[in-house]
């Protein structure tokens, strides 16, 4: 996740009064921002995905001014009508249909500010833009090109221009093949016949969104006037990113100007920074928070959060600034009230909800089984249900059809286990240096495919136990396996000779209860022992105990 550095000097400038590292460290978390690191003259904060407007020092300072009561209520921004026009050609519809724009004039940039702008751009492309797929930002030196601009789609080899970070002309197709940004983002344009391009009235290329800008409009320390364009697949998202960006520029001292974006069927004049209007019922806010605030107090909390409140009564008319992308529902305003009130002021209470506790039957049975196994002197182990096909089937010399993972990050896990025994043998393998005898057991889930089940698989309670020492044998483990059944009050069981590839022929029994197979007990086959690199005989059993739960 991206981070943002808040410098004490810059924050003091923006807040209009001196702040210290300690002060920032104390106050910033009350806004719901996590601190990652604290330095001598800065704090580093984690990016909050809910608050993309916190992607710049300006954005944080704007919120802090409210919280610290330096300046409360709705921040005011003016957007002057501007002369710049951008025409949208219908050819972009299949690939990247939406674009909005803006102009900022009179900026004074230095290296530090440019770095900050780039970081903000990247954070917004990542968070709102879903790594540029949904929206992406392009910033340009307005004075290097000539409006009206045009947003249209071109064939992969139709035009040539010099992209940023290169000094030769390339076609869009070449950029996608060799330019680092082309390689990084070409998946977004996968399958597109034609690619989106923004050009000026002379055909100069401003941008090849969402991949790379042209070198012609590079923003430098000398740039005074910036042309902003945001393209994407969701109008909502690009509006949000545009508003956050231009209000941050305004906080830096830029003058905002609108652009007329002409679609064939409509004209969008952007940016539009008029606040959205919400009604908040004071009673419902108090009820959810457990407070008894008066309407004026609620209004004050909201104003500390930089929201505007127009009429104060039982119903508040709340103005939400255009950069607050995250306000979707009334509850979001109620949270604003809580943060404005201060979480530190909320005294915990205990709810009076009376209910009767109930233990889950599987958990309850699992614990009983554990007690039995401990009584037999076995030590409990816990393994992951994520498992490895080779160990669970090839090593055990059996075949099976387990739940399979599509995208494992490590080759170690490619299935979910459908049996516990391989896990126990692996535990023995990892404990070869420990004194013998070793007696271990596991009570836990196995997962089996089941077309009848709602999710196509079921979790089933299994119990397995295993003994390893130089004289481990069948009768020893059968005594335990039989003892377990006795303890859980299963009387009608039979041990029936069977051949199972994991066990020595003639030393394996299947266990049946009223004709139903519930498990096996036996001496592990030496080939299996070799597979797990074990050097002593192992007696083991495994039961499916789901039927006990269904019996009850």
């Amino acid at each position: 996740m991206p981070t943002l550095v808040l410098k004490v000097k810059r924050m003091s400038e923006l807040l209009g009064r001196e702040v210290t590292v300690e002060e920032l460290e104390r106050i910033v978390p009350w806004l719901g921002v996590d601190i990652e690191d604290v330095g001598s003259d800065y704090i580093k904060i984690e990016y909050n995905p809910n608050r993309p407007d916190f992607s710049s020092q300006e954005g944080i300072a704007r919120a802090l001014k409210g919280f610290m009561e330096i300046e409360t209520g709705l921040p005011k921004y003016t957007v002057n009508p501007g002369p710049v026009v951008l025409k949208v050609d219908p050819s972009v519809r299949p690939v990247r249909p939406w674009i909005v724009c803006g102009v900022v004039r009179g900026l004074k940039l230095d290296e530090e500010r440019i770095m900050e702008i780039i970081e903000m751009e990247e954070a917004l492309d990542w968070a709102i833009g879903r790594d540029r797929a949904v929206s992406s930002i392009g910033l340009h030196n307005l004075d290097a090109v000539k409006p009206p601009f045009k947003y249209h789609a071109v064939w992969p080899d139709e035009i040539r221009f010099v992209p940023l970070d290169m000094d030769v002309e390339m076609t869009p197709k070449e950029i996608l093949r060799v330019h680092p940004k082309g390689v990084a983002y070409r998946r977004i344009l996968e399958g597109a016949e034609r690619y989106p391009i923004i050009t000026d009235c002379d055909g100069n290329v401003l941008s090849f969104p969402p991949i790379i800008n042209g070198a012609l409009t590079r923003v430098t320390e000398d740039t005074r006037n910036i042309f902003i364009e945001l393209t994407g697949t969701r109008l909502e998202a690009i509006f949000a990113a545009l508003n956050i960006l231009v209000t941050a520029f305004a906080e830096m001292g830029g003058r905002l100007e609108s652009v007329a974006v002409e679609y064939t069927d409509q004209v969008l004049v952007t940016p539009n920074l008029s606040p959205s209007r919400w009604m908040l019922n004071v009673k419902s806010a108090n009820k959810l928070l457990g407070l008894k605030l008066k309407p004026e107090q609620v209004a004050k909390c909201l104003e500390k959060m930089r929201l505007g409140v127009e009429s104060v009564g039982e119903e508040l008319l709340v103005l939400v600034p255009a950069y607050r992308h995250d306000i979707m529902h009334n509850v979001d305003l109620i949270e604003e009230v809580a943060i404005g009130y201060g979480y530190f002021n909320l005294e915990p209470t205990f709810p009076s909800t009376v209910t009767i506790a109930a233990e889950n039957s599987t958990q309850k049975l699992s614990n009983k089984l554990r007690m039995i196994m401990i009584g037999f002197g076995f030590t409990e182990v816990i393994n992951f249900t994520l498992a490895n096909y080779k160990e669970h089937f090839e090593y055990m010399m059996v075949k099976g059809d387990p739940v399979r993972i599509l995208n494992p990050v490590s080759a170690e896990y490619d299935i979910l286990r459908s049996s516990l025994l391989p896990c126990l043998l692996k535990v023995f393998g990892n404990n070869k240096h420990e004194p013998l005898p070793q007696m271990i057991f596991e009570v836990g889930d196995v997962i089996v495919l089941d077309d009848e089940a709602e999710t196509g698989a079921r979790r089933i309670l299994h119990l397995a136990g295993a003994i390893m020492h130089s004289e481990a044998n069948f009768t020893e483990i059968k005594s335990v396996a039989e003892g377990v059944l006795r303890e859980i009050d299963v009387q009608d069981y039979v041990f029936k000779a069977t051949d199972h590839p994991s066990f020595i022929p003639g030393r394996c029994a299947e266990v049946k209860v009223r004709g139903n197979h519930i498990g096996v007990v036996g001496e592990i086959h030496p080939k299996v022992l070799n597979n797990f690199e074990l050097e002593y005989p192992v007696g083991a059993f495994e039961y499916d105990l789901q039927f006990i739960l269904e019996r009850e």
């Binding site: 806004l31 719901g32 996590d34 879903r130 797929a133 909502e236 959810l288 928070l289 407070l291 979707m328 529902h329 009334n330 509850v331 949270e335 943060i339 979480y343 530190f344 909320l346 915990p348 209470t349 205990f350 709810p351 909800t353 209910t355 009767i356 506790a357 109930a358 233990e359 889950n360 599987t362 958990q363 554990r370 196994m373 009584g375 002197g377 030590t379 409990e380 182990v381 992951f384 994520l386 739940v403 399979r404 993972i405 599509l406 494992p408 990050v409 490590s410 170690e412 979910l416 535990v427 420990e434 007696m439 271990i440 889930d445 997962i447 495919l449 089940a453 709602e454 196509g456 979790r459």
Partner: protein, 524 residues
Amino acid sequence: MNVGIVTVAEGRVYNLSLSLKELREVEVKVLRFLAERGEKSRLSDILAETGLEHAAVVKSLAWLEDKGLVSIESIKLEYLSLTDEGKRYASSGFPERILLSFLVEKGGEATLKDVFEAGILPESIVNIAIGWARRKGWIDVLKTDGKTTLRVLSPSPTRGSDEVLLVFLWEKDRVKRSELPEELAPAIDLLYKRNLLEKQSETEILAQITSSGIKVLESGVEVDEGVSLLTPDLIRTQAWRNVKLRRFNVEAPVKPVYPGKLHPVVQLINEIREIFLSIGFEEIRGPLVESAFWNFDALFTPQDHPAREMHDTFYLKKPSIVKLPDEGLVYRVAKTHENGWETGSKGWGYTWNAELAQQAILRTHTTATTIRHLAEHRTPPVKVFSVDRVYRNERVDYKHLAEFHQIEGIIVDKNVTLRDLMGVLREFYWKLGVKKVQFWPSFFPYTEPSIQSTVYVEKYKAWVELCGAGIFRPEVTVPLGVKIPVLAWGGGFERIAMLRLGLDDIRDLYRNSLGWLRQIPVIL
């Protein structure tokens, strides 16, 4: 007959009035053997000469030493032997020797390429051979025109002490360090560093009779008639009245035994379950193989949310698709994503795709199960919890596991509040033994307002994030038919377990090291 003996044990001096009758047969035999020998005797010699059992002799020596009749000394002995690699070198010769003979054969010079192509040594060994041959001054390495040439400086060097030692050990198999010819000693480290030689240490016990021991023998020894084992026969016939039951050294150390035990993780999970149960919560359990619908969509997580990406979530090849619940619910969830439906929300403003919701995954949080339960239990009050397995497609390291446990609880009731949620969390931590708790604003996609709770950990002298909490968004609850607040909180179990067990590596929780499991005390 009694002999007064002053003996020193564990720093205390006391008088012992010892009856010779208390000496058992074994002890008498050992004492006599040592008296005959006079000098220090090895345990192995005592065993060989007396023919007594190892355990019996060791026990007797301890008893005799305790009584001051013999003195015991243990000395550490170092044995040297070859590793498997060492044995290979001993039979085939050192790789640098093999390299040297090859170069001599080639007329005293060859390129590196020649050496590789000749296949005289495994490729992985060639560089080692060159390194040593050069260090020993046998060859020189020249680089010209990008070619590496090896030239012989000393065509038939005498065998170095390392080579002599290797052969010596090869012939003797295992040699006591003290019995090694002095001139070979410097080569030990040389071979050890090359991992050709192994050092094993053993303890040798030497025993010698003391003057008290001699006195006891001189005063005449009668073998103790006493018995160690109280047999059923002795009890039944009451013959025990006529025999002497030997006194045991009850202060002597014994062999450790370990009970069967619950895994510490299970002990802690049960402790947490008991906290929930003690405040009236019902325990729930749901599927591990889950649909994206219940894991994400029902929780208002937009379909392009990063958490849903392949590198965060395990998707399944089999089963690959999961049935969706009833159409009405799917419709309400879909519309809530698209435009907020009747929840009062703006929605996400995109077109919801049923196919993405049908994807089979391994649940990434237990909230998937909580929300299933909520869909079927809409009548308040509801208080349910779970401590159960969840999955994330992460590379495993000291901080991350791909499968772990999550603790989760919800309270559904008409008048519950954000302050109530704080109160429940505080109570929960209190019962876990954590007294200092703070609450902060936070963000989770499916709660609003949201809380992050941090607790103070003495060991780190720092605040640690434990549980996240919040009130479920109406976008989550209203499509299920729930219109009253749902307080929810949850967090990772493993972090709590690590703090309690004093572990720094999360993987240690699931290593199943029997040594650790046997030795770690039960969690009280």
